[in-house]
Amino acid sequence: MVKKNTEKKGSREIQQGRRDFIVVASYAMAGIGAAAVAWPLIDQMNPAADTLALASIEVDISKIEVGQAITVKWRGKPVFIKHRTEGEINSAQSVELSQLKDPQSDVERVINPKFLVMVGVCTHLGCVPLGQKTGEIRGEYNGWFCPCHGSHYDSSGRIRKGPAPLNLEIPPYQFASNSLIKIG
């Protein structure tokens, strides 16, 4: 009798263990299934194929006078192209890296030091900084100034003062010829 009882109990324990396993396994499967169904619902929000395809533009820079800047639209954002003066290049190159919040030398930020090409979007919360047109405020470092929350960028587009954490972004670009650049 006693023996039989323990046997029974043992097999029940085994059964219990099997049940637990089945329960956990089915929860896990249901979880994976739910995640697999949720993913398309979430991922549809990411950029669509045609949005991604809009990725590159060509710009003629031969008409930009020294000291002038133009703004072009790339991926829905403004891109600043500035033909810098000697003075601006010199002051950008002579800054000590230790003075910078996001240390980067001017050389790293240009292909041809005369032309500074960068995304004209403040790295704080995305406003377009002032300083492209003559007469606009250019901030304390004679580059660009974001009026939204007061970020100052220097003549290399590096953040010098204010809440923005990073330098203005350099988009991927190359010189197709001396007067033509391809952005993206």
């Binding site: 950029p47 949005t51 639209k73 829905g76 403004p78 704080h124 919360l125 995305g126 377009v128 009026p147």
Partner: protein, 417 residues
């Protein structure tokens, strides 16, 4: 059984199968309500009416609105000029958002003063804070729809807040945009969500009311009704009072719509969105200004974002920060002073959020932000320990009738009846 209450046989037939009439009778007619509620208790029903107004005008606006970057601005101008009564519908919807926030802010400060967030109403309070969050998201997305300069740059700045999240921030922002900047996919999804979220609010409001009716309304004295002598049936006493409050509210609302429809808006939003140029001075809608001030007060990007969301998050845990067993501020002499200081602090934050972020405004924003958190995280927990409250009245009836011996006798007589 309960169907016997109704004399109309059709109502009786239905109620027996679907007790909807019993439910309404129970929750809106006989529902016992403290008899000492003051006018601050009108704002809950006003919030409900505002939500209905927003949904009704929103749905009819959606019949003429086009969620496309090339047409959105024009379609709103067409609503204003050509669609029959379109100007009225849009002005109701536009000012309705502001009035909704005015009502809800008063409703919240009512709760803060009278301790309505305390046991057993913690979940009721938390559901309310959730409604506030959903309202903010809804209003933010709605403001993007007319696709003016403020729409566009408001959307840009607010969505960029998420880029402060370490590592995954930029991917989240790209996903919110559906592209590389705020653009047509963003406008489309904001319209879809702006349509959806008010109905989510309706769902949470229903839960809010279920939680409310579990223990009934708090009251200016903050002690529980001790029996039927302390309450009156909701109908007709509070239905009539709510209707009176509603008529005052609607008069003010109508005055704004007909005489100052653009007073609370920003003129820059009548300039079509231009992704290449940020307006010189961007500000959010007035109801976001206190939170915007907190965002800008912190000199660090991530820190500012955390502080701004923290300002709401702290409301969720308020029931556990203020441990004082006394609900009503009327009986808490020190709390009461700090309550008014806190209200002034919030108004100051609202003012500072609208000023440029420079000079003295930055300093003041920082002080006001620090005080906001100090109030919740230090002052309230401390007060619950050190403050000696004033003696509480014995019952609601006593406090209503002046608490004299006569009044006591009167209520004692009533009690017997």
């Amino acid at each position: 059984m309960s169907a016997d209450k109704f004399s109309n046989p059709v109502v009786r037939w239905i109620d027996h199968r679907l007790p909807i009439f019993s439910f309404m009778d129970h929750e809106l007619n006989e529902y016992p309500t403290p008899k000492n509620l003051n006018y601050f208790w009108n704002f809950g029903s006003l919030a409900g009416v505002s939500l209905v107004i927003m949904i009704v005008t929103g749905i009819v606006l959606a019949m003429s609105y086009t969620p496309h970057v090339d047409h959105a601005f024009q379609s709103v101008e067409r609503i204003m000029r050509d669609v029959n009564h379109g100007w009225l519908l849009r002005y109701i919807h536009m000012n309705g958002a502001s009035f909704f926030f005015i009502v809800v802010f008063i409703h919240i400060f009512r709760g803060l003063y009278y301790g309505s967030y305390k046991a057993p109403r913690e979940l009721l309070w938390i559901l309310g804070v959730l409604i506030l969050l959903l309202m903010m998201a809804t209003a933010f997305m709605g403001y993007v729809l007319p696709w003016g300069q403020m729409s566009f740059w408001g959307a840009t700045v607010i969505t960029n807040l998420f880029s402060a999240i370490p590592f995954i921030g930029d991917s989240i922002v790209t996903m919110l945009w559906g592209g590389f900047s705020v653009d047509n996919p963003t406008l489309n999804r904001f319209f879809a969500l702006h349509y959806l979220m008010p109905f989510l609010i309706v769902g949470v409001v229903i839960l809010h009311l279920v939680a409310l009716h579990r223990f009934g309304s708090n009251n200016p004295i903050g002690i529980d009704p001790s029996g039927p002598q302390d309450t009156v049936p909701f109908h007709p006493y509070y239905t009539i009072k709510d209707f009176f409050g509603l008529s005052v509210f609607l008069s003010l609302f109508a005055a704004a719509i007909f005489f100052f429809p653009n007073f609370m808006g920003h003129p820059d939003n009548y300039i079509p969105a231009n992704p290449m140029q940020t307006p010189a001075h961007i500000v959010p809608e007035w109801y976001f200004l206190p939170f915007y001030a907190i965002l800008r007060a912190v000199p660090d990007k991530l820190g500012g974002v955390l502080a701004m969301f923290g300002a709401i998050a702290v409301l969720f845990i308020l029931p556990w920060l203020d441990r004082s067993p006394i609900r009503s501020g009327n009986f808490r002499p020190i709390f009461r002073i700090f309550f008014w200081v806190f209200l002034a602090d919030c108004i100051a934050l609202g003012y500072l959020g609208g000023m440029p972020a420079e000079g003295i405004y930055v300093v003041l924003s920082r002080v006001a932000t620090a005080w906001y958190f100090l109030h919740f995280l230090v002052i309230l927990p401390l007060l619950s320990v050190i403050e000696t409250p004033k003696p509480l009245p014995q019952s609601l009836s006593k406090s209503v009738l002046g608490g004299t011996a006569m009044a006591g006798a009167a209520s004692a007589v009533k009690e017997k009846m």
